[in-house]
């Protein structure tokens, strides 16, 4: 499986191409909501422990690839200030069939929220 993980500032995007044999493409975008812990916010600030955060994400994807046979997984996580409505994480999994792609994407997101040293904090709304 091809694994392509990056942590970056600024808006996230991925080239629109497919690996040979892909019959399923699952794409997940985690976007910043206007509420955080019952407070109205205008953005979230993300910080990461680099390069550990990137290595952890790569490790998780490779680990999950043993159980879910996929062709390619691409992940982009944004750091710095992310305004409401914009994408903080982008996950795209390509597989021959949908079940494997959905399973890997779901399991990956569950583990990101447990094992990857990235933290978010709310940026208060300015009056």
């Amino acid at each position: 499986m091809v694994v392509d993980v990056a942590i970056q500032t600024g808006p996230l995007d991925l080239p629109d191409d497919l690996p040979p044999g892909a019959g399923a493409v699952v794409r997940f975008e985690g976007r910043v909501r206007p509420e955080e812990k019952e407070a109205i916010i205008e953005a979230l600030d993300y910080e990461a422990y680099l390069p550990m955060a990137q290595r952890q994400m790569e490790k998780i994807v490779r680990d999950l690839g043993h159980a879910h046979r996929c062709l390619r997984a691409r992940v982009r996580h944004r750091v710095g200030r992310v305004p409401v409505g914009e994408t903080a994480i982008l996950v795209e999994v390509c597989a021959a069939h949908r079940a494997e792609a959905f399973a890997l994407a779901t399991a990956f997101m569950d583990r990101v929220k447990q094992e990857v040293p990235i933290w978010k904090s709310a940026a208060a709304q300015q009056q």
Binding site: Y49, M52, K113, P117, I118, K120
Partner: protein, 98 residues
């Protein structure tokens, strides 16, 4: 925020110490208003000894300790793994990425 050197940490009873580069993130960094500092620890330095030295300098971290994992040079610290001279030790509070 800044990285500071801690000159006031006492040597271990054996008189043998080594420096660890400690890094703070998330709520720990917010609490201490510090990115990290250099901590003198006894050698060899198991996790318990590290915590003892760290909390002697920053007792306010105690309230966050139950949720914190340690990372050594960018990998989570193993259960019986010791810290070595010159290691970078990161305090990893509960994460919230994604």
């Amino acid at each position: 925020m800044a990285f500071s050197v801690a000159p006031s940490v006492a040597p271990s009873r054996a008189g043998e110490t080594h420096l660890l580069r400690v890094r703070f993130f998330g709520p720990v960094r917010t609490l201490l208003k510090l990115d990290g500092f250099d901590l003198a620890c006894p050698a060899p330095c198991p996790a318990e000894a590290f915590w003892r030295e760290l909390l002697a300098r920053f007792p306010e971290v105690e309230m966050l300790r139950p949720g914190i994992r340690l990372a050594r040079n960018g990998e989570f610290l193993g259960e019986n793994e010791n810290l070595q001279p010159g290691d970078e030790v990161a305090l990893i509070p509960p994460v919230s990425g994604g």
